[in-house]
């Protein structure tokens, strides 16, 4: 059975690794969930490849509260996401509870 990887992103400078690991894991048949929090939510607006990540990964969400704290309007949903992916820290709990492998970046 294929593995699953959950990635919790807290550092805004790690996006290229998030994308690289997601691509490599998907190529091996793994399912990948990514959750961005605090200043890593800048990635959703500032990284050109963010919509691509949303297409490749099985699930991508961001902490809506963090996004608001970073100065964005939560109605301004980043490309690649929908309103249901403007989420809470519960997404981090799901990664820990339900995924085989855990990474924090």
């Amino acid at each position: 059975m294929s593995k699953s990887i959950g990635i919790f992103v807290t550092n805004p400078d790690q996006f290229k690794h998030v994308l690289g690991i997601t691509k490599a894991a998907k190529a091996k048949g793994a399912s990948v969930k990514v959750f961005f929090t605090w200043d890593a939510t800048h990635n959703a607006k500032k990284e050109a490849a963010f919509p691509e990540l949303c297409k490749i990964a099985d699930d991508v969400s961001i902490c809506a509260d963090s996004y608001k704290n970073m100065g964005y309007d939560i109605e301004d949903i980043p490309e690649g996401l929908d309103a249901s992916k403007m989420a809470t820290q519960a997404q981090h709990g799901i990664i820990i509870e339900d995924y085989d492998c855990y990474l924090s970046l």
Binding site: T10, D13, T37, W38, D39, Q89, A90, G93, E97, S104
Partner: protein, 103 residues
């Protein structure tokens, strides 16, 4: 049932504030959640909301430690050494070096 034990470690002020919120979020999900303010950050005094988060985390059997006595005194955190937090990490199911390092 085996419960997850998670420790988040913070090395700058901004990350500390959000990281404690993250720890609280995990405690709410029935995990043992801990935070540790490592040696670098010079903390600011918690506001009422942040102090409440710490209290709620402790109510759910979590805690926040700090390696600097000044931070412990300022925000009522549990003192710990680098060696002691290292030993605690051995017992964790998930270890999270949180955010970025800012001196």
């Amino acid at each position: 049932m085996e419960y997850n034990k998670v420790c988040l470690m913070y090395r700058n002020q901004d990350c500390t504030v959000d990281g404690i919120r993250s720890a609280l979020g995990l405690a709410v999900e029935n995990m043992y959640a801990y935070g540790c303010v490592m040696d670098e950050p010079k903390m600011e005094k918690f506001n009422e909301l942040q102090a409440e988060s710490l209290e709620m985390l402790r109510d759910m059997e979590g805690d926040v430690f700090a390696t600097k006595a000044s931070n412990c005194e300022l925000n009522d955190l549990e003192p710990i050494t680098i060696e002691e937090i290292g030993e605690k990490l051995r017992d964790m199911t998930h270890i999270i070096p949180y955010g970025i390092i800012k001196a």
